[in-house]
Amino acid sequence: MSEPFIYLDYAATTPPDPQVRAAMDECLAAAPGNASSSHVGGRAARERVEAARAEVAALVEAPPEAIVFTSGATEADNLAILGAARGNAARGRHLVSVRTEHRAVLDPLARLAREGFRTTLLTPGRDGLVDPAAVGRACEPGTTLVSVMLVNNEIGVLQDIAAIAAECRRHGALLHVDAAQAAGRVPFTVRGLDADLVSLAAHKIHGPVGVGALYVRREPRPTLVPLSFGGGQEAGLRPGTLPVHQIVGMGTAYALARAALAAEPARLAALRERLWSALRSLPGVHLNGHPTQRAPHILNVSVDGVDGEALLFALGSVALSAGSACNSGHGEPSYVLRALGRDDVLAQASLRFSFGRPTTEAEIDLAAQRVRAAVLRLRALAPA
């Protein structure tokens, strides 16, 4: 296996852009300063943080004061869901979400069940899309929060959040949107989503891992109970000494993403279609998720007649995921693909290809060749 290595797992994590790395290192090398300190180092740190906050806000056209920095999208999801549910428990204890959400949404919902909340989890259509009317029907008088992701991390489908938001408004429920996979990949604005809470990650769009943000609408401002307490940073919603270099890394990544938004999504979508054309020429290869209502950087296929783990292993020189990064390697079929109605065996024999700024046509063509070869080799072992 000394074939050149091809990374096609950008939905799991992306390499930080060289400019991001440079900005981070420059920050780590700068005169020291805790952003809470009143001396000159502290003030410089605060200025860097606020400049980055403005960049992050700009990508989604939010006011900078609406951006709360967190340690990643997982924490942003938890702050939104645990925070809004607990903070609005007096109004009701019913929550609505979808079976294909990320674990960072589903697991806090499961925790809330232990705290006496009820959750209705909708099943999307076989194309992965949630019917906005179904969200409306799931709402009850005591529904305080609805959580639906913008771009699914496994199959890339893009939900119609604006229509879902309208249902939430009608029922007086807050709307949280996990946009960890969407930011910088598809153009959107918080106004366009009309969401109250939006989770963002840095490391999915060539920023550093370990930093993210939660957009918290200003008017009306949802009540949130913080996850942690102490120090008062981030308007009391997220304490702890601010990791200036991480925040600067996210700001730089978001600035780069905004600059690339005019051309990069189309380029990635073309790569995705190129790969899909190559793979669909093999018999028994199925596309997962809606064919057009989708983000450009994710392609998920299921392959008949092969074992998923063996396929992944045979593709050792192509880095990709069988499901989401968090589930891969566990041998468990993806719960997302199962929610779409794929049977266990086919769900297991699925590959998620995902693309990023460094991805080239040549890599796509090589990857397609290797996938074809691996599938044919494995099928030859079991010509049933």
Binding site: G305, V306, D307, E309, A310, F313, A314, G329, H330, G331, D344, V345, Q348, A349, L378, A380, L381, A382, P383, A384
Partner: protein, 126 residues
Amino acid sequence: MSTTEPYAPLVAQLFAELPGAGRPAGPGWACGEAREPLSGTWVRVYLQAAAGRVAACRYEVRGCPHTVAALGLLATRLAGQAVAGLDVDPAALARELGAPAAKLGRIFVIQDALRSAALQLNVGCP
């Protein structure tokens, strides 16, 4: 899964070389088949015997790398063994390949297929 390589080097080697893989041509082969629907594992073992001993072993498989490797090991080892009482120790095989406990069920599938092929050798192919 360990924090380092997910498969032992022996597994990687057998998966790459696939010794004895494929449906045998010609007559005189007994075969046994077994499956495990949850994981979709499917195994067919072919045996050829001469003078009460295994002359050759072949297989077809749809399964995980550990399952594929276990069959490769079998194919290279069964030749020469007495057909009477022919069997495999799934736990020992799993250990040798460094397969995690969760994989043991699939090695049992191999045992089932092998036993049923051996049975035909003893009883005579249909």
